[in-house]
Symmetry: C2
Subunit: 223 residues, 2 copies
Amino acid sequence: MKQAVVLLSGGLDSATAAAIAQGEGYAICALSFAYGQRHALELAAAERLAKFFKAVEHKVITIDLRAFGGSALTAEIAVPEGGDAQGIPITYVPARNTIFLAYALAWAEVRGSRDIFIGVNAVDYSGYPDCRPEYIAAFQKLADLATRAGVEGRGITIHTPLISLSKAEIIKTGIALGVDYSLTRSCYNPDEEDRACGACDSCRLRRKGFRDAGVEDPTRYQH
Amino acid sequence: MKQAVVLLSGGLDSATAAAIAQGEGYAICALSFAYGQRHALELAAAERLAKFFKAVEHKVITIDLRAFGGSALTAEIAVPEGGDAQGIPITYVPARNTIFLAYALAWAEVRGSRDIFIGVNAVDYSGYPDCRPEYIAAFQKLADLATRAGVEGRGITIHTPLISLSKAEIIKTGIALGVDYSLTRSCYNPDEEDRACGACDSCRLRRKGFRDAGVEDPTRYQH
């Protein structure tokens, strides 16, 4: 059975990307990162999802982004609520997807897998530069040049099945594939009972997505 | 004073790249990786060199490449001696430079540095795909798209001052800049007294480089 490395954050998007990979006949090699996130709860969700998708293997890589700081998601900076801020938000983690994809590339190469799935999205997204199609195209080009597989003509393909979908379309796709979204989490500011704040950018996008999709949102919100 | 992130492995090439950066007026922000190398001695050399170059900061990032395996440098595979092997050698670490440069990019972005120096070399090199000029060009393109700095028009430049130099030219350049090569180490198979084996690919390239440069080799060899 062909295997794909799937970046699994525990959120709604990566869960849907995993479901799409599975729907295309890939066994899932799940890859998650402990990168000084505010909440280990994100990794707990990734763990649940890896089980849900019967992942061949689930690797959690600890990376040291907190040592660099520079983001509300890794440093002691408050996550903003209710944002209409312009430009790249404070929750942007410098070079995060580049680091994640570099590890995915290494693992795919070692495993002999020729496919990587990442749930980036350039429609209902937060304005991060490393979620755009031109960024992914540049990483694909890099991957072709960086690896033994690429040099030997057995290239590794970066799949971004969500890149041009709205949040509502992502949710409808996932529902059709049987994803249990109650296993996922999106909130940057959950409380101690893991209830979502409902107010951060990520919650707002998620709520609106379920509403627009006409699907009941299984998320437990604080209010 | 302008600052550059310099990838400092403890070897001859990265030491020379650091000297060139310093010669161009940059203060050095040294970045090293503990990536399951066979020998912590490599990091000890990086530490010595960071002091030698009066680095503003020396960050050592622990990364989990050993978890992936797949290389003689990170897994329990013997390092070959005296190699005329064709193609990409077994010491190739999958996607290593991609991971290293991704971290360098993150750190440069957080520091507000616009320059990264890496001592890759495409002449007297070991056949790794991620040391070639076309690979570096692809990473530069990625960096321009991946970062806040790139999006906002203050791009981060990847400098590869050694890329088209022979090993002898690298050594002559470093000597002219005052590099103390006795602080560096190249060997993949040193003994317990940190004496180089003299037989691995890296030792052979180093020895030949000093010979061709007409410079005395300060390395302590086992024989």
